[in-house]
Amino acid sequence: MADDQLLAALRGRDENAFRELVREYHPSLVRVARIYVPTQAAAEEVAQETWLGVLNGLDRFEGRSSLRTWIFRILTNIAKTKAVRDGRTLPFSALQDPRGVPEAAVDADRFLDPEHPRWPGHWAVKPEAWPEDALLAAETRKRLAEAIEALPATQRAVISLRDVEGWSSEEVRNALDLSETNQRVLLHRARSKVRAALEDYLNEAGT
């Protein structure tokens, strides 16, 4: 449903429209809230509070941003307020500039030395092509889900929204209030780690 139709339905107190909206965004809200609060239960609470904020603000929403962006701004404000109230240090620096802490996409020991006389920085242990059917196996999916869970919260939020939910980079940047570069750095790290986890699993399964 387009934003204006949805908005009209919500303002008309259409319960089905609200249910549709909640089903679509609630899991993502919880995932993003996890960036700011330490537990799943606290994130769930923040997401529920967000919906109350949405209902209370609905009649004043002017549509200058998309409905989605507006909802995620409300979430971010509530989550930050809660984190401050609980005396938690916010991962602002991590969110603002992930480049402050470098991370390699692939373990350094997979490559030859950058000063190697013949093959500087070439693969020492090359990646092997994956069997296509293994990627669709139930066990592979389980490993993928586990790899996402193991990521730091900001990386987990970015890769979940981009690659699992299929949002565009602009939508993710708006929802998380990230610069273009930082969104890309976070996505890069997340994808690199998930690939590595998959490689570990598929290599071990293939031998």
Partner: protein, 83 residues
């Protein structure tokens, strides 16, 4: 080895994969990237694995709302409705 100055190493290439897929590499760097991929089987496999990873993530089920959370939220909606 002065001719290698313009070439990317494999170790450098893996750090550019996301920028490449996002269309964020400057033209010259994109050409260097594609030139390397055309000549390096291992990096070609690496790039393909990243693409396969992204595709596989797209097939993961999205988290679903629990019936309990849905009930709480719909109750909140009905409370708001009545005001």
């Amino acid at each position: 080895m002065s001719t290698d100055v313009e070439q990317l190493s494999c170790r450098e290439l893996v750090e550019l994969v996301t920028d490449y897929l996002e269309g964020a590499l400057p033209e010259e760097e994109r050409l260097r990237f594609e030139d390397h991929i055309a000549r390096c089987g291992a990096c070609k496999i690496y790039l393909e694995q990243i693409r396969q990873t992204v595709a596989a993530l797209g097939h993961l089920p999205e988290d679903a709302l629990t019936p309990e959370a849905e009930r709480v939220l719909l109750d909140a909606f009905r409370g708001w409705h009545r005001r």
